[in-house]
Every structure is written in C-alpha cells, then in structure tokens.
Symmetry: C3
Subunit: 151 residues, 3 copies
C-alpha cells in the first residue's frame, strides 16, 4: 500500500499544519491592526470610511506613515508566508526527514514573529533585514529539497 503523507498520522504534516496555520494567523492579524491605526490617525483610504461627523474636516489619505508601516509589513508577510505555506504543501509530498522538516517550520515561524517585532517597534536595522533573510532562506531550502527530489 502506498504511504499517505497528507494525514494527521504523519508527524511532518501535523507539525506543518500547526506552523502554517500559526503563520497565516499572524499575517491575518495585520488587518485589524491596520483598521485600528486608521481610526487612531484618522487616515482612511475611502471617503465612505470617514466617520459621518468628520467628513467636513478630514480627507482620505494613503500616506499616513504609521498606517503604511503596518501595510508594508502585511504585504511583506504575503510575499513570504504564502510562498512558505505553498512550498510546504509540496515539501510534505517529498517525505522529508521529520526532524529536519520541523526545524524548517519552527525557524520560519519564529523569523516572521521577529520580523513583525522589528518592523513595528521598530528595531534598528539590520534586525528586520536579518529576520526576513532567515525566513527567506528556510523557504529556499525547502524549495531546493523539492527540486532535488522531483528532478
């Protein structure tokens, strides 16, 4: 009987589910953070979003530095977390060494937490650049292992 990889009985897949879902949740949190910042700074992108009693005094803006910082962070998550999850689904089919795999997942997730902290506090560079780079390398390493198996 062929082996099933996409099942909770497979420890690699089970671990992947946890870290993939946690990373996506971290990314999704950027949406309410953006909304909150928009209200705090009165920085709305659409005219209909401006509270009724303030329509005469404030205008739409897409240039508030605090809102844009969260949005750049969100876009960077999209550029990195989504590829990690997609590549991760492919990686599972290659039946990687469980210990190797889980460390890939863990390091990626922690690197993205640190990236968000470095972006939002903000910490001095190269904190953010390094945390980005670590996550990027993890995904590239998984990609290399897949290509090696498939070709």
């Amino acid at each position: 009987m062929p082996t099933l990889y996409y099942t909770l009985d497979n420890a690699v897949f089970r671990n992947f589910l946890f870290y993939a879902v946690a990373s996506i949740l971290k990314m999704m949190i950027m949406s309410p953070l953006t909304s909150r910042q928009r209200f705090e700074k009165n920085a709305f992108a659409n005219p209909e979003d401006i509270p009724l009693d303030e329509r005469k005094t404030i205008q739409t803006t897409t240039a508030d530095p605090d809102v844009e910082r969260i949005r750049r962070n969100h876009l960077n998550d999209i550029e990195n977390i989504i590829p990690f999850v997609l590549i991760g689904f492919c990686y599972i089919a290659c039946n990687p060494n469980p210990t190797l795999a889980v460390w890939h997942f863990r390091i990626f997730f922690v690197s993205r937490l640190l990236h968000t902290l470095a972006y939002q506090i903000p910490l001095r560079q190269p904190s953010r650049a390094l945390s980005f780079l670590v996550g990027f390398i993890v995904t590239v390493s998984m990609t290399a292992q897949i290509l090696f198996q498939v070709y």
Copy 2:
C-alpha cells in the same frame, strides 16, 4: 485502510474545491476590471502602457481614485481569500463535520461577493466592514478547529 480526505469521493473536499475555486475566480476578475478602468480613465502606471497617440498628452499615475479603489479591493481579496483557501486545505485533513464545513465555505464565499459589491458600488459603511468581518471570522473559526485538532 487509512481514510483518504483529498479525493472527490469526500463530500467536504468536493465542496471545498467548488467554493475555493469560485472565490479565487472572483479575486482574479479584479485584474481585467483594473485594466478596463485604466483605459477608461487614461490612468496608466507604466509609460509603455500609454497608447502611442496619447504619449504627449497624458502622464503615468498611481493616484486615480477609481483605479485605486479596484486595486484596494483586489489586495483585500488577496489578504483574505488566499488565507481562506490555504487554511481550507489544512481544514480538510482534520475531517470536519460535513454540514459545518460546507456552511463555513458558503458563508465565506457570499461574504466576499458582498464585500466586492459594497466596495465597488460603493455602499455606505458598515456594509463593507461587516462583509469583511464575516469572512474573517469564518477563516479564524476554521483555524481554531485545526489548532484544536493538531494540539
């Protein structure tokens, strides 16, 4: 024999495929809508996109309100529909109750249709905020069920 979840014989997966694919298609439609609006408003982001006979009269812009409205809608889809589909693939492995699962998928899909209508007509707030929130909560609910199963 272990149970296979990622197969068309599994009603949950079959339903997921339909709503996932329909949601992605809804998201992809934003691309031609953006192009059409760019031509209608003569609002091009790249110099090479400007029609040859108008190169002397119009300049590139990334600030046309109608084009940017569609683009914000598209980005919001990316921020919400892609996580839904990724989380959905993980959710399938957790073998959820079929009725519960299909209602998650249906409500999500309808919430994103309403979100697009609210954004593009545009409807008065909180129409768009609420439709966003409903889809967001559906994805978080699936996430919670996965984390509960995996840990």
Copy 3:
C-alpha cells in the same frame, strides 16, 4: 483501493510540483531585486533603512520609478502565480489528462518568465499584456475543468 493523486508516483503531481515551485521561486526573486534597487537608487520606504551616514541627506520615498516597477511586477506575480498554484492543487484531485496538464503548467511558467522580462527590460506593449493574458487563460482553463468535474 482508491487512487492516490498527491504522490510523487503520479506524473501529473510530480510535474505540478516542479512548475509550481519554479514559479514561486521566480516570484520570490523579486524581493532581493527590490532591495538591490532600493540601495542603488537610495530609495528606502522606512527611515531606519537609510544607511546611517546618509540620514541627513536623503529621505524615505515610495515613488522611485525603478523600485516601483519591480514592486508592481512582484504584486502582479502574487495576483497570478499564487492563484495558479492554489488552483493547481485543486486540479490534481480532478485527475486531468497528463499531457494536457503538463502543457498547462509549462505554458503558465513560460508566460510568467516572459511577463517578467517584458516588465523589467521593458519591452514595448503589448508584450507584457499578452504574456499576462496567456498565464491568466491557463489558470482560468484549469478552473473551468475543476468546476466541470465538481458540478
């Protein structure tokens, strides 16, 4: 015994893994290209990114044409490559004809390589529009086949 589709023994899935991973890698390369361009043009989006010895002479910008060109390319990849990969995972479950499937994957991947070349050189339109359109049609074709199978 039911047939397993998500396994390296399935030629369609094996081919999909290669082209999906290659497309994602192509997309991820836009990140270091953006960073390099930011340093070459001294065009940083965050104050903490500006090199210490230049903080008094340069300011943050999100309007450098060369940086923004790469970023628009990256966002277009996100809008197209991620849907392709997600739809691709769904497509595998529909057990498509192997030859038909691999040509979908090949044409998509080549269309996105050409799109990037057309965007970054840049080539005269409609080069970029056509390469975008080809990839878009491939994904829509896969979507149509899935919907046909599922309903």
